[in-house]
Amino acid sequence: MSEIAVKTKAQQTPQVTGAPKAVTALDDRLAAMSLPQGGFSAPARAEALSRLRVMGLPGPRDEYWRYTDPRLFNVPGPQPLPFDAKAPESPLFAQRDTLTLVFVDGAFDASSSDELALEGIEITTLAHADAAGDHWAAGLYGALEAAGQQPVKRPFAALNSAAAADGVLIRVTGTPSKPVHVLHRRAADAADAVWHHVIRLEEGAELTFLESGMVGARSNAVIEVDLAQGAKLHHITAKRAIDPKVGLSHLFARVAEGAVLKSFSLAVNGTHMRHEAVIDMAGDDAVAHVAAAVLGDGATGRFHHDDTVFITHGAERGESRQVFKKVLKNGATGVFQGKILVKQGAQKTDGYQISQALLLDEASQFLAKPELEIYADDVKCSHGSTTGAIDEHALFYLRSRGVPMDRAIVFLVLSFLADALEEVEDEGLRAEINERLEEWLTSHA
């Protein structure tokens, strides 16, 4: 009997192999979403969808998903993750004068947001622009994401371009008087939030872009950033700490001649998170700094945080800097995959990358793949990666000076994170983030 059963199975396989398994999973995934139709973004969405169909969803054996299981992102819908909306945590950046846009489960909430008007800036939402027809973002939406699919496939970013329901479209021509702040809120326990921002800074323009709040039970975010000559974007994202969440985000940036991108993210808890930064140093003398401070405590549930960075130097005298610091405890897992690619002719490139993990107990782990791929000879590229526990000597020093153990650990962790925080230029913002870190460390001592 069993022999016959095996044969039948074997006979069936050829039909199944005609259509790879992943596509089936992808079909299920797509069927669970409602894809927006029409509007300026329609052609870009259609292209993104066909890109996605070619790529399929990643499998756990995919090299690029070696350390982070993609299955939680592959399944059609998220597990409901109840949250406490009244949890005692004040939102970051609340004291600042910002142009605030509120998104609830990934959709713009006009009634809670500021009026979308600020000098030197043109701002609207994706859903609104799609309803209105023609838009300046037509040539950009999905374009940087598409360019960022080489040489590594990023199917969830294509999925995002195809399916994002909302987002913010910002064009900056001058130097706005205050930052733009996107504040996220949650409503449903099983929200699967997908949003897509496009930010274009014209020549010499400057902007500070802040993100905070709580994202959905599962989220998929894409930010496309296009910086013209001499433009400068300061991007800081700091999501609320206490919520369980499964999240993916991609930052795609093109940095033109003399332009500066500084992106900092603070990630505190989160069940299963992956943040990718894909940066194209397209113009000479471009500058890009990406940094993150990540704190994970596995005691309150699973913690897995992955930072994946891919910086391509395609022009001369580019300067890139990656600073990633992770503090992990109670079985938390930190992942870092960073790459600097220097193309032929991108001479005088200065590429720097550091990834460090502080493991506060035996159960936590750090997995890193810091890569260099270099095709130009007159460059200065280096990377470093270290993993270890808190320095016993430093701890002893502080204790001998009468600092209680708990405080001493907080001091040392903060000093460990300081390099990443340095990447936040604005002193006020830096202090605010530092305070938030201290708060978290004290409560998780």
């Binding site: 090299e63 810091p370 260099l372 270099i374 130009a376 000879d377 460059v379 270290t386 993993t387 526990a389």
Partner: protein, 506 residues
């Protein structure tokens, strides 16, 4: 060395380096030996596997072991993850077995030995005294020894032609012979350890090797013995369209020590040749093995024609407490290098070290590095890798450091430096770092740079030409690794560094 005494050695300049620079020339070992060979038919299948086994007079269990590997191999696919670009290899278009006809019957005296075989070793620079033994003359071991004391096992295409100093080694209890001999004479050791570090199904190339390996060296150092001399294997590919698949098995029993050297060369040919070797090292309590390689297979010509495809699996298993292994490699040859000598640090307080110089010039491609797998408590590892790319070459360091949850209080330090000479080559670093306990400390640093202009200028102002200056700077860049080599090898390696970079400047 005496030749250099009359050299005008400048202050602060290494004498060896100057000598090396003076000796610069192109690939020195590119000639072939016209010798009557006996081949198995082209291609690989179960019959060929059986034939190789039969040629080596192997027992039934060994034939079965090979067949098992072969059957596994046909189900496997060639790995493609390395940053290497080469045309499909037609595994059926190769000879898997080739031996000099004169080796069919072991020659009894020097007169009987094929003079061409003798001339080959002479030309490769192996001293005459040894040459007599290398040519497989029975009784030559009894002749008085003179000169350097290194026991050699020489492998010519598919067969070991001879092993020197066997008697003297035997007095110390050391077994040093070809693996085919070991299979016949020490089956209990071979059965126990063969495939215990690199299993038959380990990877595509290792599995192929398990099926078709023709010869190689076998070393057993008994408990508490410090091997009285250095052991070495010299591999020579001579026949055309022949794959060389050698297998080396080294067992260092409790408290023993051995230093092992490996050298390899091949003639210049237009076609690519395949080399897929496996080296297994088992190290027991308190034992130490030093394994040094100078890999100088033909790298192909300036246009990227010809050269050896080198797919090698090397692994050391520090099986018991305080075992220690040190891999040192100088990789200057081969068109394609795919090689990751690894250390399994299983025993508590065991240590693994990896020192590597990989030079890729012209159209060479190298993807090489190491794996440090920390399983035991208080284990230590150190990686120093120096990659040099020139011409149109691509050079990749690929490595893994993993700290298992049980490997508490362990340490790793990794340093990978790349040097680029010219703007058409590439240097890449692909490290994997997996730390699964907090009491261990892992540090990794990597840098990429070009030959320092100030250093070049300094050398040039002292009257060196550009090529000499580059060779000197590169030798300085490699210094840490060169120092890890045994003395004689270090000198050879140093001159090789200069030779390999010939034509990369200007």
């Amino acid at each position: 060395m005496t030749a250099t005494t009359d050299l005008d050695v400048r202050e602060g300049v290494d004498r060896e380096t100057v000598e090396a620079v003076q000796n610069m020339g192109s690939y020195k070992y590119g000639w072939d030996t016209e010798i009557e060979m006996e081949y198995a038919p082209k291609g690989v299948n179960e019959d060929i596997v059986r034939l190789i086994s039969k040629k080596n007079n192997e027992p039934e269990w060994m034939t079965e072991w090979r067949l098992e590997a072969y059957r596994r191999w046909v189900t496997m696919t060639e790995p493609k993850w390395a940053m290497l670009n080469y045309p499909e290899i037609d595994y059926q278009d190769l000879y898997y077995y080739a031996r000099p006809k004169s080796m069919e019957e072991k020659p009894k005296s020097l007169d009987e030995v094929d003079p061409k075989l003798l001339a080959t070793y002479e030309k490769l620079g192996i001293p005459l005294r040894e040459q007599m033994i290398l040519a497989g003359v029975e009784g030559a071991e009894a002749a008085p020894a003179e000169g350097r004391r290194v026991a050699v096992d020489a492998v010519f295409d598919s067969v070991s032609v001879g092993t020197t100093f066997k008697d003297e080694l035997a007095k110390a209890g050391v077994i040093f012979c070809s693996i085919s001999e070991a299979i016949r004479e020490h089956p209990e050791l071979v059965k126990k350890y063969l495939g215990s570090v690199v299993p038959q199904s380990d990877n595509y190339f290792a599995t192929l090797n398990s099926a078709v390996f023709s010869d190689g060296s076998f070393v057993y150092i008994p408990e508490g013995v410090r091997c009285p001399m250095e052991l070495s294997t010299y591999f020579r590919i001579n026949a055309e369209n022949t794959g060389q698949f050698e297998r080396t098995l080294i067992i260092a029993d409790k408290g023993s020590y051995v230093s092992y050297l490996e050298g390899c060369t091949a003639p210049k040919r237009d076609t690519n040749q395949l080399h897929a070797a496996v080296v297994e090292i088992v190290i027991l309590e308190d034992a130490e093995v030093k394994y040094s390689t100078v890999q100088n297979w033909f790298p192909g010509d300036e246009d990227g024609k010809g050269g050896i495809y080198n797919f090698v699996t090397k692994r050391a298993d520090c099986r018991e407490a305080r075992a220690k292994v040190m891999w040192t490699q100088v990789e200057t040859g081969s068109a394609i290098t795919w090689k990751y000598p690894s250390c399994i640090l299983r025993g508590e307080e065991s240590q693994g070290e990896f020192y590597s110089i990989a030079i890729a010039n012209n159209w060479q491609q190298a993807d090489t590095g190491t794996k440090m797998i920390h399983l035991g408590k208080n284990t230590r590892s150190r990686i120093v890798s120096k990659g040099i790319s020139a011409g149109q070459a691509q050079n990749t360091y690929r490595g893994l450091v993993t700290m298992h949850p049980r490997a508490t209080n362990s340490r790793n330090y990794t340093q990978c430096d790349s040097l680029l000479i010219g703007d058409k080559c590439g240097a890449h670093t692909v490290p994997y770092i997996e730390v699964k306990n907090s009491s261990s400390r892992v540090e990794h640093e990597a840098t990429t740079s070009k030959v320092d202009d100030d250093q070049l200028f300094y050398c040039r102002s002292r009257g060196m030409d550009e090529e000499e200056a580059v060779a000197l700077v590169v030798n300085g860049f490699c210094r840490e690794v060169l120092q890890a080599l045994p003395m004689e090898f270090a000198m050879e390696a140093q001159s090789l560094v200069a030779i390999s970079l010939e034509g990369s400047v200007g």
